[in-house]
């Protein structure tokens, strides 16, 4: 399948994701930064769809770009942090340097890792994968293992989210009497 048209779009979305992410971390205004993050999420969703993971692509848009970022923007607006120019930047020279070095290290690591191939015997062939997707559909292919093999992990995730909510409420709740 890798024809020129496919490759062109794949790298286009990839570049757009990286460019948006870079713009996201360099913006001073929280609202602008959040919108650039939405654009990163959309590009990633496009990449997922191009890799035949349609369901994950859809969820990416619905959950991250939709729900989470909207709530994020609400919080930014409700907190009313003031004019972006008046915000002090916490990131000093050394912070930037360290972040740059860490970024370079991760880039080098990704380069090195992309040279190694996973064990051939562990990789499911494209043919098998496509057959599986056609036989059922993208949602069933995810739902089946989620509710059978990974049932325990799924249930534990719900407990985890409950604890996160309880923790946030306990810390954030206004005191009844002081």
């Amino acid at each position: 399948m890798p024809n020129f048209f496919y490759e062109l779009h794949f790298y286009l979305f990839g570049l757009f994701a990286i460019a948006s992410a870079l713009t996201f971390v360099t913006r001073k205004s929280p609202v602008a930064a959040a919108l650039w993050l939405v654009s990163t999420m959309f590009s990633l969703a496009a990449l997922y769809v191009m890799m035949d993971a349609h369901f994950i692509g859809a969820i990416q848009v619905l959950v991250y770009a939709g729900a989470i970022m909207v709530v994020f923007l609400f919080v930014v607006m409700l907190l009313n942090l003031g004019h972006p120019d008046e915000l002090s930047d916490l990131r000093g020279k050394w912070g930037r340097l360290a972040a740059g070095l860490l970024g370079l290290a991760i880039l080098a690591q990704v380069m090195a890792l992309s040279r190694t191939r996973p064990e051939a015997s562990l990789v499911q062939s494209d043919f098998d994968r496509l057959a599986e997707l056609r036989g059922e559909n993208a949602v069933a292919a995810i739902a089946k293992p989620l509710f059978s093999d990974h049932l325990l992990a799924f249930e534990l995730t719900s407990v985890l989210l409950l604890v996160a909510i309880v923790g946030a409420v306990v810390i954030g709740k206004r005191r009844a009497s002081t």
Binding site: L122, L152, V163, A164, V166, V169, R175
Partner: protein, 509 residues
């Protein structure tokens, strides 16, 4: 009959103690949220949490006696898990008992404090049980998220807010490392099951795969943060100082023990095939942690910070047992964790008792001449300090804990002689701050303007008395505990040569 973990019903049975704890925690959460916050409700929830912990502890002991087993699955059913569970529940019982008295004093009236402790304990129990990297990760997060909130419970204290935020940010950072490491290990081996990872590393000859090695290194960094091993220890002193004192103790004992239990299982079940590669990293981690923790502890004037650095030092001592990697070392590891839990929680309990006079109770001045005003507290603190130091007789089981770790390090097939030497030297250094506390209590005069320390509330008194009694009892007569620890790790842990045979580690067959 071994459990078949593929069947949901059998999986539920294998997880029964964990599920009872989590379910009970949810019920208590409702009790806590049912009406307005009050000291009485806080106490009710606290006592409910205590009863629940004791019940689950009884359940764990009952299950451990039956010695069930399971084929490879997402959950381990073995003696090591039950021993670790008992340890976490002990830490939780002590922390909740101390919190019941401490929280209202500090204006923390939320009953949810105890509920979060229970959830954190549930996370720890899952960490000790997990034989799948995904379940392990969820256990770590369940524990960590509950503890982030517990550190920030005291909303009136800026230090608590600082500690909570610091712990949250650095914890999230460490989580990213863990997750990235897990992803790479999965990418290299195609499995998240610990036993399968171990088998595939051996069968496919992956021990030189860069993806696997980078993944293991990232996992080591992630665990290093959770253990507070140097150089990933920066957060510990600020967080321990800012957290409510019972929670500091819970973190120093329970959270650390849970991270260690998971670390031990992952390293010895999944990665014995790459022993030679990780051994060097763990060696250096142990050596740096021992030196950094004990030397910086010498300069601390605040007892909570001092105990934080001392706990970093102890992380190093326990890592020595891990580096040795023999069955004997695993026994020493459990024994050490038990002694360390009692002594650390006891020391934090004494700080709470001294803090009743109105101050924070964690400045060294608060301990000046304690012997003249409160002889009982002074003697208890002396036992805890000497136990942490590993002093014979008066330090009780602390001495044997260090002795067993040393013995394990020296008698391993590949003797860790240099680590053992560093252990002895840094232990000697640690006398500088442990004995100093004892000295100021007995030899200094109490400041004339020092506030009188009222008698301890019932729960705190029970915790202090029981800890002292247990430490001294097992110091004279350690045999039963050693036998238990040995039985829990009967199968043995990774052989040092690191062959495929070692995948049977910890399986409890």
């Amino acid at each position: 009959m071994p459990y078949d973990l593929g069947i949901p019903g059998q999986l539920t049975l294998a997880l029964a103690p964990d599920l009872v704890l989590l379910g009970g925690a949810m019920a208590l959460m409702l009790v806590a949220a049912w009406g307005p916050e009050s000291a009485a409700r806080q106490r009710t929830v606290g006592i409910g949490a205590l009863v629940l912990c004791v019940a689950v502890l009884a359940m764990v002991i009952a299950v451990a006696i039956r010695q069930p087993s399971a084929a490879n699955g997402v959950i381990a059913v073995d003696g090591f898990r039950w021993a670790a569970d008992a340890l976490f529940l002990l830490a939780a019982i002590i922390a909740i008992a101390l919190s019941i008295d401490y929280n209202p004093r500090e204006g923390i009236l939320a009953g949810e404090a105890h509920v979060l402790t229970l959830f954190a304990t549930g996370g720890m129990m899952l960490m000790a049980a997990a034989r799948d990297l995904m379940v392990l990760f969820l256990g770590i997060e369940l524990m960590s998220i509950a503890v982030y909130a517990m550190v920030g419970l005291n909303r009136r204290s800026p230090r608590a807010a600082e500690g909570s935020l610091k712990y949250f940010l650095l914890g999230a950072f460490a989580t990213a490392f863990l997750l990235y490491g897990i992803a790479l290990v999965y990418g290299a081996t195609g499995s998240t099951n610990l036993a399968e990872i171990g088998e595939r590393i051996a069968a496919l000859g992956l021990s030189r795969s860069p993806m696997l090695l980078v993944g293991i290194a990232l996992l080591l960094v992630g665990f290093g943060f959770k253990l507070a091993a140097a150089p990933f220890h920066m957060w510990a002193p600020d967080v321990y100082e800012g957290a409510p004192t019972p929670i500091s103790g819970f973190m120093a004992a329970g959270v650390k023990a849970a991270a260690f239990a998971a670390f031990l299982r992952v390293w010895l079940e999944a990665f014995p095939g790459v022993y030679t590669e990780w051994h060097k990293a763990v060696w250096w981690l142990a050596a740096t942690t021992m030196v950094v923790g004990n030397i910086i502890a010498l300069q601390q004037k605040n007892l909570k910070r001092m105990l934080a650095y001392s706990s970093i030092g102890h992380t190093g001592f326990i890592l020595v047992a891990l580096a040795a990697g023999t069955p004997q070392a695993a026994t020493a590891f459990l024994f050490y964790l038990f002694a360390y839990t009692l002594a650390t929680m006891g020391a934090f309990a004494v700080i709470i008792a001294v803090g009743q006079s109105g101050g924070s109770g964690d400045r060294i001045e608060d301990f000046h001449g304690l012997w003249h005003s409160n002889p009982g507290l002074a003697v208890a603190m002396m036992v805890f300090m000497l136990a942490l130091l590993g002093f014979p007789v008066f330090g009780g089981m602390g001495f044997f804990a260090k002795w067993y770790v040393l013995q394990a390090a020296l008698q391993a097939p590949a003797p860790q002689t240099r680590l053992a030497i560093i252990l002895v030297i840094t232990s000697t250094i640690s006398a500088g701050y442990y004995v100093w506390v004892v000295m100021v209590m007995f030899m200094k005069q109490r400041a004339t303007d020092a506030l009188r320390i009222p008698p301890m509330p019932a729960m705190t008194r029970w915790v202090v008395t029981a800890s002292v009694a247990l430490i001294l009892f097992f110091g004279v007569y350690p045999e039963p505990l050693v036998r238990l620890a040995r039985a829990s790790t009967a199968v043995g842990i990774a052989p040092v040569d690191g062959g495929p045979a070692s995948t049977a580690a910890l399986q409890g067959q």
